[in-house]
């Protein structure tokens, strides 16, 4: 998954909330999703077209966590997003 690129599916609208968190609306299913601070960071990375590796680096820098910890968090969320059909692999 390291150099993998995932991208938001069409018709997902992201909104910043309370400075750090975020909300996703899937206009295909009309479902809301709430992203915590780390989730918002990951989503914003996806929107910019960053690879998984790049997003992991951003998380490490933002939260001063180990590479393994960052990677596990990122991959867990990405799996979640993918299973909810909010992102797709490029």
């Amino acid at each position: 998954m390291h150099s993998l690129k995932l991208t938001p599916v069409n018709d997902i609208i992201y909104t910043d909330f309370d400075e750090a968190e975020g909300i996703l609306v899937d206009l295909n299913t009309k479902q809301y999703y709430r992203l915590n601070e780390t989730g918002s960071l990951i989503w914003r990375g996806l929107e910019k077209g960053n690879t998984v590796d790049e997003i992991v680096s951003q998380m490490q820098a933002a939260y001063e966590v180990s590479a393994d910890h960052a990677r596990a968090s990122v991959e867990e969320l990405l799996t979640n997003l993918e299973s909810n059909k909010l992102v797709k692999r490029l």
């Binding site: 609208i13 909104t15 909330f17 309370d18 968190e21 909300i23 609306v25 009309k30 809301y32 709430r34």
Partner: protein, 354 residues
Amino acid sequence: MPARDFGSRRLTVELTNICNLHCSYCLRDEDALYHTPANFLLPEFLESIIKQAKEVIGIDHVAFTGGEPTLHPQFDQILAVVSTNGLKTSFVTNGWNFQKIWPTLAAHRDVITHAAFSLDGVTREEHDKWRGDGSFVRIVRAFSLCFAGDLPFLIKVGIRRDTFERLEQFALFAARMRAAGLNFGHVMPTSPEVEESSALNLDERRGAEQEVANLARIFKMKIGMDVGYHNVNPAPACSALAGYSCNVDYQGRLSLCCNLSGFRGAIGEEDVAADLRIQDFARAYAALSIIAREKVTARQTRLHDLTTHELPVDLYSASPCLFCLDTSGKLPWRHSATESPMSSRSLPVLGAVG
């Protein structure tokens, strides 16, 4: 028949004349919206009006409109005025600025009962066609903020030729976006072109109103019609005519309601009672009450005459809003150059029978 419940007494206030969008069916005067310097109602003046209105008629709610009320540069102070005077508030908005003003709304969350968003379609294409590119995404972001921030919101939809066969779609969309309510309202005929292209005829309106009633029965979410629907009850048809609400326009004038105020293409301002910059609220409201009573009486007379002569109730008599518009100089295009708008009160002359 039990008296209708118009809710608590309230004030509608136009915070500004300007808007950042250009919806062709808007009922506000085009010059005021786009070609007149921006006028923003001052917080101090608003406070004076609120205090007087509380004392004179006991308002407990102020609803903000415009133009686009969230364009007011002192929106924060405006909400603070409502708060310090112990009232609640709501506002109607196109949603464009909503993300920008969210911190202000969050700071005054306790005084805001809801936000009301105007929606023209349930897809980007449909909504943006009327409101400009990017409008749909902005309004959905606004819904998101309301949902996450626990701020109830309503969606308002105009019933027009392009929407009246898709009311259920709007209801499904609003429900899935977690709107607290959905209000439909007939588009106002601001010109013969709008009437021709967008407004429904009498039968179509009644069909749409029946569909709204059906949707209201089916959905858990509150669904209703804004006043203006078919109503031949001679009692005061709306909160304004019943004395439960009144409007302050962006120039500080007290008028009957926000539908009539600054109506696009109007030549009359019979709905305006007084200028609150120079007249106290009590006297202005007394003048407004006379205007309201006269409107109610005029409509009662019209409906009575139609019944007495066994004539069908036409569209402009059946809809209280259209009646008020038609008899207040708001629809000059409906009347010839030599005919006074007030002559729409008179009935066709009947020949002798036999």
